[in-house]
Amino acid sequence: MKPSALPDGLPPLGPARRLPAPSVARSVLPNGLTVWVVRRPGLPLASVRLVARGGRAADPAGRPGTADLLAAALKEGTRSHSGRELAAILQGAGAELSTAAGAEAVVLEAQGPAAKVRIVVDSLAEALSAPSLPPDGVARVRALALEELATDETDPEFLAARAFARAVYGPHPYSVVAPARTTIEGITPESLHVDARALLRPERTLLVVAGDVDPDFLLTRVERRLAEWRPSGSPPPAAPQPAESPGFRRLLVVDRPGSVQAVLVVGRLGVSRSDPEAFPLALATTVYGGSFTSRLVDNLRSEKGYTYSPHASSSWLPSRGVVRTRLAVRNEVVAAALNEVFYEMDRMGATDVCEEELDRARRRDLGLSTLRLETLRGLSAELADVWLHGLSPEDLTAYARALPRLGAVAVRAASRRWLASARALVVAVGDGRLLREELAPFGTVEDAPSL
């Protein structure tokens, strides 16, 4: 079944619009803290984000997931306020603190009315620069993290993501997708204070404020409030580059006895945002499996009915992201579905994408880039990402600007390199005995290493 054609007589699409880069006021404080402020009038709101470089990439040796636990513990209070008091202060400013660790950063974020932005900036700065990490708070973080891990481990999608990251990144810290049980059990207020001093440092931190705010006022305010924040101890060592993916196919099984369907993740080590092939690969991924009108969805969902939502993505991380396809399929069609995934991956490198299909993908990616910058929270998150890559705010819209020039030749070349099924890693989570049979036609099947 082919997707239905559009009705006759529709007017043609208008020309694609430009996506202007936001204008960012930039400053670096004497203590090394970087400040970026974007004025965007409209709704009377402001988003505040503090980004401390490090994250899981800087986890101490043997304690994977420390950054996640530290991020959670930052909500538990400061030297001047308890966690409850901090939450109440922020609520009074119309905001709520969210904290998280990513591959490259510990991030604090809150958004509220622009008139109260001063309070939000002060509270986030206090949470990051003077955490109290109290014993009862750390005990709470530990208990909740253990519960979350137990819940996550019942989820085949989590098991697949964890096994895939471990196999792709090996000893590189990006191999961690969640804190290990031993890390959770081992944290104490004392250990977290040591981690906080190493990871949360002004010279490794970016403050982004986006919204209906006055950049001059904010920069002055921040200078006054944060100038006293001094680093102590030494920063964590830089993470090494991950090892290149092997030049052959690997098939790994995570046994989940009795499962009635299987989760498959297919892919390899990918690129950073500044890799010359990042943009052609992004467009290739959209054509292949990144959007609802992609080849993967047409084939596996619309034509064959093997799965509802196969999806492909190409992530950008400073020491290389991943290219991956994920799908959940019925047990009986694991081999049939994987066969089609490989076919669509290899077709991208074997034949040119026609101009009509390319243009649809370009418009879709331009639209998505626009949507990502539509909200203040989205804008501040994207700015944080370019900063973590060591790029400037203008790079925020670099992909959107490059799109009109990305043609079939570049897309095919990137696909040959990054989407070749012969060099793909396959992680399958489900009933082990059945999976070993279904995967046998594609190569040697191994058990995923146990944790």
Binding site: L43, L45, G94, A95, L144, E147, E153, R181
Partner: protein
């Protein structure tokens, strides 16, 4: 120690939904009873002005944040038109929230959040299999 993680949703005029994840080893009866205590407290005592002021600010702020996305904004306008008959009602919500009093909250809690009108679903994780994921 607070065993709760979760949040509250007000879903149109039909559902008031509370979702809570609680620690293993805590009984759901204990969780429900703690929730009942909080509802009873609001119904009997209302909410102190300082707490109410913070909550008003947060509700208005979250509402404005939701209007940022064009898709969300169009949904809010659609909802305002269906419930209030005029799209402009989207602009009136902040002042309506600012006007809410402690007595209003006590009345709403006593009138709507009644144990005999609710359904409770408790979902527990499957038993761990020997040799399966820990």
């Amino acid at each position: 120690m607070n065993p709760f993680q979760g949040g509250l949703w007000y879903d149109g005029t039909t559902l008031f939904l509370t979702k809570l994840a609680y620690r293993r080893g805590v009984s759901y009866e204990a969780v429900l009873s703690a929730l009942d205590d909080e509802v009873r407290r609001v119904a009997q005592e209302g909410v102190p002005e300082a707490e109410l002021a913070r909550a008003r600010t947060k509700v208005v702020s979250s509402y404005l944040c939701a209007l940022e996305s064009r898709l969300e904004r169009s949904l809010e306008v659609a909802q305002a038109t269906s419930f209030d008959g005029i799209p402009d009602a989207v602009n009136a919500l902040p002042s309506r929230v600012e006007a809410v009093t402690s007595e209003d909250l006590a009345r709403a809690a006593a009138g709507w959040l009644r144990a005999e009108q609710r359904a409770v679903v408790v979902k527990v994780p499957p038993a761990r299999r020997p040799g399966g994921p820990a």
